[in-house]
Amino acid sequence: MKADTVGSITPAVLVRLAPGEKALAPHGLMLYKEPSIQLHRRTLRSLGVGLGELMALQSQGGSEEEYFLAEFEGPGALTLSRDKGGEARVISIPAGQSLQFGQGHLIAFDSTIRYRPMLLARFLVATSGAQAQYGTLIGDQLTGPGQAVVQGHGNLLQFTLGPGEQMRSSIPSFLGCADTVGLEVRSYWLPNPTGFATRPMTQIHYTGPGQVLLQSGV
């Protein structure tokens, strides 16, 4: 798969496929395709994701996970768009390395990439009234080799953390990270010297080594 982003307001991704080459994408993103491109249906089961695993994710709140993906087979060209503003980026994933992205950002990936939806974190969120409830962070894990295209809201911000290096972000700013990055969600009450009207804050704490991708829009 050769992928290029086109446009800056609502970027589209131009994908060129050689004969027999295949790319996968969530259903409903196609803008146009050449008639020589064949459109197939792939189930998550055919990609190695068990039904039980998917149902467990659904029960955790992974409502955006679809059981079917669209598979495009070359030769030819097609374009895909998520119908939203924000930077799209083509990312090469070396063999054996894994990146995990938040839900709703994936545009396309090579059929050589192993895809798996997964629970990235489960955490307690402090809410007003000194109560707490469970929240989940569900994402898509991609394991190389191959190329993937993702889109964030606004601009993409890329960081490379050294071993043991730490940073944190808000939950909506999370776009993705390497699976070597330790990811922990912490929720706490902001200190207020007056002792009144404090408010909760929930953040993701990252610990290197590895790449972290954030988005500037939420």
């Binding site: 803008l31 146009y32 395709k33 249906r41």
Partner: protein, 212 residues
């Protein structure tokens, strides 16, 4: 008449009109204007009674707004996208997706073009395009980014319905059901797409403006 496109994310077309110069557009697109500009409501005459019936069926307005100079008027579709202007030669005809025309000079002939749907239960029964014939100048708003192509004779591309922005009248368009894989399930999951055949210009937009 001069058209100056201002802004990058949600652009406006700033139209400067000389004395007596006139443009037409849909109502509700004006952002600001010179006090000297004369706005007026105008019934769409083209197509006669048959055209009026087709507009009624297609949910297309019966009226347009005209702005007569001298002065300036700024128009916007109030959404992220690109604005482009086109100068049409006498007799040159283009078809534009509904909700994309910003304005046209009064010399441009306006009509509508019906594209038949696939007629399947639960699917759309067809849609209308704005047909514009020169001579004159036209300003268009493409939702998202605009991708421009020139199709050779008999060259075919298959596009999503919401991606179509503009085509030359010489470009043929046909609705078809695109199955997703084989078998009954593939047909059940199929979606309506358009097959577009050259020769002529084809502009696509990267943001689908139709509600999903």
């Amino acid at each position: 008449m001069e058209i100056d496109v201002r802004g990058a994310f949600i652009p406006v077309a700033l139209v400067k009109l000389g004395p007596g110069e006139e443009i037409f557009c849909e109502s509700g697109l004006d952002v600001y204007m010179d006090p000297t500009i004369q706005p007026q409501l105008k019934a769409i005459q083209q197509g006669g009674f048959g055209g009026a019936v087709r507009r009624m069926v297609g949910g297309i307005p019966y009226h347009q707004v005209t702005f007569t100079g001298p002065g300036y008027v700024a128009l916007s579709r109030a959404g992220p996208g690109e604005v482009r202007t086109l100068t049409l030669a006498p007799g040159e005809t283009i078809d534009v997706a509904e909700g994309s025309l910003l304005c046209a000079t009064e010399s441009v002939r306006y009509d509508i073009q019906y594209v038949r749907g696939t007629g399947r239960i639960g699917r759309m029964i067809g849609f209308f395009l704005d047909r514009l014939s020169g001579p004159g100048t036209v300003a268009l708003h493409g939702h998202g980014n605009i991708l421009s192509f020139t199709l050779a004779a008999e060259e075919v591309v298959q596009i999503d319905h919401g991606a179509l922005l503009l085509k030359d009248a010489s470009v043929q368009v046909r609705s078809f059901n695109q199955p997703v894989g084989g078998g009954l399930l593939g047909h059940a999951m199929s979606f309506e797409a358009l097959e577009v055949k050259g020769p002529g210009r084809l502009w696509l937009q990267t943001l689908d403006p139709t509600p999903k």
